[in-house]
């Protein structure tokens, strides 16, 4: 179009490289639409306003905030000023009474849950993955159906958050670790299942076709070809999800499991904000340590690639 304009103007059309680049840019209506709607999604909430908010910093709220910060100081220190020894005894007491055990439970729940999720995800990938690319057109109807069902179950599992799963499963199982473990496992199995399925389906065909030509059946290709080839990928995703599991298993305590969240909720209910903050910091420490461990293991896996 611009070329026509140039020539009709009677001027010599001379395009700089920059102009040429701009002309050749592939404009995409869908992307423009997406960009506009995303910006709207971010801005509209503020334009519409939130219903309960009239003035945010009311007098009462300000005094509330002040009180909150005052009560964050550990209570033995509130009157006497800072004393390292007192602080240590306070921390030691909280740790031995509640913190240590809760920390272990939190960690244990996360590990058992992610192991279960990994197993389920692996099963989903093994049974749900489509066959090699060259056979995809000639899939049998049962194969298609199984694959379809597994994909759907994965979607449902991961679309519903762990917290909601736990909320529902707790009424079924009572306040035991089992409910939390299952909740975490179901959600993460959905995520891992999808990632594992994608990994297996995106493997290069060549080594697998080699196995096939040697006479391997489909199950043998899966067991000795596809699974071992994607194992390091699987572990990467597994470790990555474990990090979030640690985080979530803390939070499930808010629902009544005996993980760290339980004591956070308990301290909040009694308005012992110092204690609450201590447990929150403890959970944050656990998460950071978990992140470090997982990052270290992932680094080792990557380096061995």
């Amino acid at each position: 179009m611009s070329d026509e304009q140039h020539s009709s103007g009677g001027q010599q059309s001379f395009e700089t490289p920059l102009e040429q680049l701009l002309r050749e840019k592939q404009r995409d209506l869908f992307l423009s639409f997406s960009a506009v709607s995303f910006v709207l999604l971010l801005l509209l909430p503020w334009l519409l306003g939130f219903s309960s908010e009239s003035a945010f910093f009311t007098e009462q709220r300000l005094s509330n905030i002040q009180r909150f910060f005052r009560e964050l100081t550990p209570y033995p220190l509130r009157e006497q000023g800072f004393d390292f020894h007192l602080l240590c005894t306070w921390v030691a007491e909280l740790w031995s009474e509640k913190g240590g055990e809760a920390l272990r439970i939190t960690l244990a729940i996360s590990i058992v849950a992610i192991s279960l999720a990994g197993l389920l995800g692996l099963l989903a990938a093994v049974f749900g993955a489509r066959p090699l690319r060259r056979h995809r057109d000639s899939q049998s109807r049962t194969q298609k159906l199984v694959s379809y069902i597994i994909h759907t179950v994965c979607i449902i599992g991961r679309a519903i958050p762990e917290y909601v799963w736990a909320f529902m499963l707790l009424t079924v199982f009572g306040p035991t670790a089992l409910a939390g473990i299952l909740a975490l496992a179901v959600h993460n199995a959905g995520i891992l299942g999808r990632l594992y399925l994608e990994t297996i389906e995106n493997l290069p065909d060549k080594p697998l076709v080699g196995l096939e030509n040697l006479g391997a059946r489909r199950s043998q290709i899966m067991l000795w070809g596809q699974v071992p080839l994607s194992m390091s990928r699987f572990l990467l995703y597994f470790l990555y999800r474990w990090e979030t599991c640690v985080r979530e298993s803390t939070v499930l305590g808010l629902l009544g499991l005996l993980s760290l969240g339980y004591w956070i909720q308990d301290a909040r209910a009694r308005t012992f904000y110092d204690e609450m903050f201590f447990f929150i910091l403890l959970s944050s420490l656990l998460v950071i340590l978990g992140d470090f461990l997982s990052a270290y293991l992932r680094e080792r896996l990557r380096n061995s690639d």
Partner: protein, 304 residues
């Protein structure tokens, strides 16, 4: 010895290593056994307390027949029909998620830029000027390590724990909920943004630097264009997570989907619970679909 042979083979294939993988798998097995032992020790009630499985059957049975109108008998006059209510709840959920992301994205970008080391590419040829040299040895590392520390702290506390804290601080305020999502999300976004930026190949950046471009120019023309696609698709993924988080915040009394799920569940209206769950499902699947579509267009080389 077996490992040695394994390593050689892998060198030839270059696909995976038995050595470290076996180690990690063994570690995992040990951790699993230990955890099972722990849970068995610490939670004896887990065995004695059998929940009611009839509830489970009833609840999961309703998955195939979600309610389309209220299950309760006495509904006050003028209540919106169930599906409309679910729709409003979805809007509220999106509202909280959007507001939170609108805070998290700029803050995450800022922190992410600060905590990426590529941003600090500078002429370290140290031509004569010793003070300048020293400045670049000290200031950038200090800056990006403190930014990283802040980001790590922000994201190490779960959004619900932020909510517990902020609610204790502000009282029940919707701004507290928005902030509770925005704080940890900006930490996560910062981490991923900085990783993406740092993993971008540097050749373009170095050649620009060679032609005399300054730090800012190198960054905007040499690094950002290569990193932007990954950044966009990760942001969209986080938006999906924000929808989930904002739905959960309903359990704390905010008018998002979680509020209605909890209320219907406690009234034993399992059909309604499933209607709301399916509403959440639709939201999540739609946003997932959208982000995939955007990603594939971006990968095909399209622009806005």
């Amino acid at each position: 010895m077996g490992e040695c042979v394994g390593k050689k083979l892998e060198g030839a294939q270059g696909i995976y290593s038995l050595g470290s993988m076996r180690g990690i798998l063994l570690l995992l097995l040990a951790a699993l056994l230990f955890s099972l032992f722990e849970l068995n020790q610490l939670l004896p009630e887990a065995k004695s307390r059998g929940g009611s499985y009839s509830i489970a059957i009833e609840f999961f049975g309703r998955a195939f027949s979600p309610a389309f109108s209220y299950q309760g008998q006495d509904i006050p006059e003028g209540t919106a029909p169930l599906l409309l209510k679910a729709f409003y709840a979805c809007i509220e959920t999106l509202k909280f998620a959007g507001a939170a992301m609108s805070l998290a994205i700029p803050f995450g970008l800022l922190l992410g830029f600060l905590s990426s080391s590529s941003w600090w590419i500078s002429d370290q040829s140290g031509s004569g000027n010793k003070k300048r040299h020293l400045f670049f040895r000290i200031v950038p590392p200090a800056c990006y390590s403190s930014a990283r520390l802040l980001a790590a702290f922000l994201r190490s506390i779960h959004e619900l724990l932020w909510a517990v804290m902020l609610l204790a601080m502000f009282g029940l305020s919707e701004f507290a909920a928005v902030l509770a999502i925005a704080l940890p999300y900006s930490g996560t976004l910062a981490k991923i943004y900085s990783e993406i930026i740092d993993e971008t190949p540097r050749n373009v950046a170095f050649s620009l630097q060679g032609t005399g471009a300054g730090s800012l120019q190198v960054f905007t023309f040499g690094i950002l264009p290569l990193a932007i696609n990954d950044m966009i698709s990760y942001t969209l993924y986080r938006f999906e997570c924000a929808i989930r988080s904002s739905a959960i915040l309903g359990f704390f009394g905010f008018p998002t989907l979680g509020y209605y799920i909890a209320a219907s569940f406690e009234n034993l209206y399992y059909g309604e619970v499933w209607s709301y769950l399916y509403a959440l499902l639709v939201l999540i699947i739609a946003s997932d679909f959208w982000s995939r579509k955007v990603r594939s267009r971006l990968d095909a080389g399209a622009y806005v």
